[in-house]
Structures are given as structure tokens and as C-alpha cells.
């Protein structure tokens, strides 16, 4: 009895330090299943395809995590993605497509993302509105701005953009480098004071406030970081689709929330990791490719994918609860 108990506390302690471990195991399992269903699905070429398509969702899920840390939520990440996507494409079409001009456009996009995050933080933390409804309202406003910048989809991005995103360096696809850099950046960010404070606010706003933390400012900072990572997601989608589309992010908001939960972050706040959310987004990608490689008839693919995601979500919540007990 005591031995199994001490094992349990140890497992709980490990999981508390690395909340993404179950997600990592699930990712490994999905890779193996993909390999069994279709050995070619594990080639560099095939993996490059999966990562290119899902890198935007990876960044968007990471973005979502910084507000979920405090127990908040951001339903406008998809709208921010669309807005930044059309903004950088329009800026590049006006400015030109030389490398430094592309860089200026991207920096402007990041600034726009940060400002959208600031707006969300202001209405949710500053004006104390309920996060779900307030960020839904801002998502309508931001989608409107995206439509104002570019009313219809289709303005192409300069070739430099998609050549870098889809290209290879030293024989290795560039997206592999991007995701490696992201993992390093997330490891560094996880050690920062900001994340500790976000998690402290998520554990209990009143306690954090009584400890002397500037709760409102910390929550706003969470939304700003969320906006910045959403704009990184927008840069990825611009590289992947090579064009501007004011509606491109709409369907991705809910997937980002699912990815955050899959990655072991609690929606109630206080526990989690952005690295887990990145894995969660890749899990969603690998589930869809597994459904495809398993030979599911095309009309059944969405259902199989939806049902698998629901089951994995439920298993994840149950597993982390059992170990934490």
C-alpha cells in the first residue's frame, strides 16, 4: 500500500513539474500508429507536410496557453490570426517584397497582434468583463477589421515568404528549425517570472492579490503575449497558404482550446505548460493524418477525427485527475 502510495505521490510530483508528459506519450503512440498504418507517413517529407500545415495551430495553441494559465480564455485568437495575416500581406503588397520590407511587414504584424492582445487584456482584466463573452465580442470587432483591410481572400504573398517557409536548409526542411527554435523559446519562457506569476494568478486571484501581485497587470500581460504568439501563427499561415484571407483563422480558435487541454493545461488555470499545448496541436494533426492513412472513407473522416479527439480529451482529463488525487 505505502509503496504504491509513494509511487503515486512521486508520479503526481513529476506530472506537476512536467504536465505535458501524458501528451508526449500520446504523441509517440500516434507516431507509431501512423507508422503502422502507413510506413511512408514517417518520412521526412510526410512529417514536413504535417508540421507545415499544423505549425500555425501550434503557435496559436501556445498563444492560448498564456491566458489559460490565469484561468482566462481568448476566443479571439483566430480573428487576430486572420487580421495579422491580411495586414502583413497588404503591407507587403504596398511596400514591396525585398527582404527588409518583408521583415518590416512581419514586425508590423507582431505589433498588431500585441495591440489586439492589449485590447483583450483591457476589456477582460481592466474592465473585469467575463472572458468568454468579452473576447467573443472583440473577435467580431477584430474580424471586422480584417475584412476592412482585405475584403476578399486571394491577395498573394511575395515568393520570398513561402520559399523560406516551405524550403530546406542543409537538406532539412525549414519548418523543423522553426519548431526547434520554438521549443527552446518555450523552455526559456517557462522559467521567466511572468509565467510563474500567471500561474500564481491562476491558482487563486485573491491569494495572488493579497501576496502583493499586480493581478490586473499580469492578466493583461498574458493577453499581450497571447496576441504576439497569435501573430507568429499568422506569419506561419501566410507562409503555408502564400496568401491573405480575412476568414482563415475563424475555425482555428476552438482547435486551439482543444490543443491546450490535450497538452495537460487545466482550463481553470494554475497548472500547465505551453510546450504541452504545442504537442496538443501536433496530436490533432497526427489524429487527422492517422484517420486518413487508416483508410477511413472520406465522408467518415471528420466524424472519426472528432470522436477520437473527444475520447483523447476525456482520457487526458481523467488521467491527470487520477494521478493528482
Amino acid at each position: 500500500m505505502t509503496r504504491s502510495n509513494s509511487f503515486k505521490t512521486q508520479a503526481a510530483a513529476t506530472l506537476r513539474r512536467f504536465p505535458f508528459l501524458p501528451a508526449l506519450a500520446m504523441l509517440a503512440l500516434l507516431l507509431i500508429l501512423n507508422g503502422i498504418a502507413e510506413p511512408n507517413s514517417l518520412t521526412v517529407r510526410a512529417l514536413k507536410g504535417v508540421i507545415s500545415t499544423y505549425l500555425a495551430l501550434v503557435f496559436l495553441s501556445v498563444a492560448q496557453t498564456f491566458v489559460v494559465y490565469t484561468g482566462d480564455i481568448d476566443l479571439s485568437v483566430g480573428a487576430i490570426l486572420s487580421f495579422v495575416n491580411v495586414s502583413i500581406v497588404v503591407i507587403m503588397s504596398q511596400l514591396g517584397s525585398a527582404p527588409h520590407q518583408v521583415l518590416i511587414a512581419c514586425l508590423a504584424g507582431i505589433l498588431i497582434g500585441a495591440l489586439c492582445g492589449l485590447l483583450n487584456g483591457f476589456v477582460v482584466a481592466g474592465l473585469r468583463m467575463q472572458a468568454i463573452v468579452a473576447t467573443f465580442a472583440t473577435s467580431i470587432l477584430i474580424s471586422g477589421l480584417a475584412l476592412w483591410v482585405l475584403p476578399v481572400a486571394g491577395l498573394p504573398a511575395p515568393s520570398l515568404f513561402w520559399k523560406i517557409y516551405g524550403g530546406r536548409s542543409y537538406g532539412i526542411p525549414n519548418v523543423f528549425f522553426f519548431i526547434t527554435v520554438l521549443i527552446f523559446v518555450l523552455a526559456v519562457i517557462a522559467k521567466t517570472r511572468l509565467v510563474t506569476r500567471l500561474l500564481a494568478v491562476g491558482n487563486g486571484q485573491l491569494t495572488a492579490y493579497q501576496t502583493g501581485l499586480a493581478v490586473t497587470k499580469i492578466r493583461i500581460a498574458g493577453y499581450v503575449v497571447c496576441g504576439i504568439f497569435s501573430s507568429f501563427a499568422a506569419i506561419c499561415i501566410t507562409g503555408d497558404t502564400a496568401s491573405g484571407d480575412p476568414l482563415v483563422g475563424g475555425a482555428m480558435t476552438m482547435s486551439s482550446v482543444a490543443a491546450v487541454v490535450l497538452g495537460g493545461t487545466a482550463l481553470s488555470g494554475g497548472v500547465g505548460s505551453a510546450f504541452g499545448s504545442a504537442i496538443g496541436a501536433l496530436i490533432i494533426g497526427l489524429i487527422s493524418s492517422l484517420v486518413f492513412y487508416a483508410g477511413t472513407p472520406s465522408e467518415w473522416q471528420n466524424l472519426a477525427q472528432g470522436a477520437t479527439i473527444l475520447i483523447v480529451l476525456m482520457l487526458g482529463v481523467l488521467a491527470s485527475r487520477r494521478i493528482n488525487q
Partner: protein
């Protein structure tokens, strides 16, 4: 005055600040102002016929919001993101079963409500027995429903509404009002009765304000919560059926827009997302207010972008009045 006196103690006159805190009153004043503004912008906007058309659209949203309202009242972060999926599912199922034939209406209603009830049961069991947070469970369910819609649509023509159903929704039915408005009035009365006069109603408020206390007092917390999710999906299924009648034929993902607008209608109506307080009368006003706002924006010739920008800002301003949480200091 009876409408406003429900939370007003005695006959003392209320101050402006207190008035602003009464969501129902504010919503009604805004509705009158907006109707006036609409009439000024485009004459005929506030005509009886036009208001009836708005009421039909509001009734569809209002029926979905009734279920959302129940789930939110039940507290513990109660929310149902699958309502839009159920609306689409019911519209397609009803269209396929009915196939434009009056004789099949009863069967279609039965199939819709059964399908809705089943989805709600899944949600409720996942949330109470397995302890999955409502947002996660219903979000996952939404994904399943969207997949199911693709399967059902494949190969089978999406079906037609029976003429009787179409007439019920958009033609005068009784006293010059279309049937769907009577249906909404019926849902309103049912909700008022359920929440104020039945044991279930008291139990909903009890688990919404303090689940542990309610459990200690002997409330079957899990059963009540499962019932809330079953009712929510069944209301959405009913709305899906009416939307089929309104549109004549079911088209893809007709219910998508109901997911978040039903939540907004509830919040504008004065039920905070934390649950335990509020009611359906405010939600009805909230639903009409939302539909009215969208309709006015459609009459403005400012393009889709401008419309969305104004709609978003207006929602933010309205939300500023309701459901703001308390400051940590104090």
C-alpha cells in the same frame, strides 16, 4: 410595471445607477430606442410586419438560449458549446425524415428530440460521471457533431421542410402571430414555471449557487445537471426543426452562429456565467436585442467590415453593464 418589480423591494423609486443594473429594464429601453433608430434610418423598419419578422428570428435564437440559460444557471462553469451542432443536426435529420411531406412531421419531431436528448445525455454523463469540464466536453461533442453532419449529408439529399412546418414558422397561426412566436411564448411560460414553481427549478438555483451545500441538503446534484444538458440539447433540436421550417431546406452548418450568440443573449439578459442567479425573461429580451441590433446593421449601407466593427463595439459596450466581476480590492 409587474415586469420590473420582481427584484424591486417595496415601492421606493429607484435611482439611475440601480436602473442600469436591471438588465431586463435596460434591454427593453434599448429595444425601444433601437426600433426608433431603425425607423429613422429606414422608414418601415418598425412596422408591425417587420417586427414580426424580427420576432421570428429572435424566437429561433431564444429557444436555443433557453437551454443555454438552464446550463449556465446550473453553475460550475456550465456552458454548452454543442448547441450549434445540435441545431444543424436536427435541421438535417428533420429535413431527411420529413422530405416535404406533412404526414411525416410527427416522426421528424420525435427523431429530432430523441437525437437532441441523446447528445445531451452524452454531454451530461461526461460532465457529471466522468468529471470532464463542460467547456471541454461540449467542445469535443461539437467536433463529433460536425463530423456526423458530413456523414449524414453525404449522398442523401438534404431534404425539404413539410409545408405545414413552413407555414407554422412564417405564416400567421393564431391571432395574427406565427406559430413559432407562440412556441417561444410557450417556452417562456414553461421556463418561468420550471424555474419558479417546481422542485427542479429550486434545485437548479441551489446547485448553481453552491453545489456542496445543495449536495449536503440532499439535492441529487448529478441527476439535475444531466437533466440540464439533456434539456439544453432538446431545446436546440426544437430550434433546429423550426429553422428548417424557416429556411425551407436544410443547408450545411446552419446552426454555427447559435453557439456564441446564445451565450451572449443569456449574459445580456442578466444571467452571469458563474450561474446561480438570473432567469429566462431577461434572456428573451437579450435574444430580441441581439437580433434587432444585427437587423439595424444590415439596413446600414456600410459593408460587412463596418457592420462587424460596429457590432463588436456595441456588444462590448452592452457587456460593460452586465456581469462584470467584483474588484479584488474591497
Amino acid at each position: 410595471m409587474t415586469l420590473f418589480s420582481q427584484s424591486q423591494k417595496g415601492g421606493t423609486p429607484i435611482s439611475l445607477a440601480e436602473m442600469i443594473r436591471k438588465p431586463l429594464l435596460v434591454a427593453l429601453i434599448l429595444i425601444i430606442l433601437l426600433l426608433g433608430a431603425g425607423e429613422a434610418l429606414s422608414p418601415g423598419f418598425a412596422s408591425m410586419q417587420q417586427i414580426l419578422r424580427l420576432l421570428i428570428v429572435a424566437a429561433l435564437l431564444g429557444v436555443v438560449a433557453a437551454g443555454q440559460n438552464l446550463v449556465i444557471l446550473g453553475g460550475r462553469e456550465g456552458i454548452d458549446l454543442s448547441v450549434g451542432g445540435v441545431v444543424s443536426l436536427a435541421a438535417i435529420l428533420a429535413g431527411n425524415v420529413m422530405d416535404g411531406n406533412n404526414a411525416n412531421i410527427i416522426a421528424a419531431i420525435a427523431v429530432c428530440l430523441a437525437a437532441g436528448g441523446l447528445v445531451g445525455l452524452f454531454n451530461g454523463v461526461g460532465i457529471t460521471i466522468f468529471g470532464i469540464p463542460p467547456l471541454v466536453m461540449t467542445l469535443g461533442m461539437l467536433g463529433v457533431l460536425q463530423g456526423l453532419l458530413v456523414v449524414i449529408r453525404q449522398g442523401i439529399p438534404s431534404g425539404l421542410a413539410a409545408p405545414a412546418l413552413a407555414n407554422f414558422v412564417s405564416k400567421p397561426f393564431l391571432l395574427g402571430l406565427p406559430g413559432v412566436i407562440w412556441l417561444w411564448i410557450g417556452v417562456g411560460l414553461l421556463m418561468a414555471f420550471l424555474l419558479r414553481r417546481t422542485t427542479l427549478g429550486y434545485r437548479i438555483y441551489a446547485i448553481g449557487s453552491n453545489e456542496n451545500a445543495a449536495f449536503m441538503a440532499g439535492t441529487p446534484v448529478k441527476t439535475v445537471r444531466i437533466m440540464l444538458f439533456v434539456l439544453s440539447s432538446m431545446f436546440s433540436a426544437l430550434a433546429g426543426l423550426c429553422i428548417l421550417g424557416y429556411a425551407g431546406t436544410s443547408f450545411a452548418n446552419v446552426g454555427d452562429s447559435y453557439m456564441l450568440s446564445s451565450i451572449i443573449a443569456v449574459v445580456l439578459g442578466g444571467t452571469p456565467l458563474s450561474g446561480g442567479k438570473g432567469g429566462y425573461t431577461g434572456t428573451m429580451a437579450g435574444a430580441f436585442l441581439l437580433v434587432l441590433m444585427q437587423s439595424i446593421l444590415t439596413t446600414l449601407s456600410i459593408g460587412e467590415a463596418g457592420r462587424q466593427i460596429i457590432y463588436g463595439i456595441t456588444l462590448l459596450v452592452l457587456l460593460l453593464f452586465y456581469g462584470r466581476s467584483k474588484a479584488l480590492r474591497g
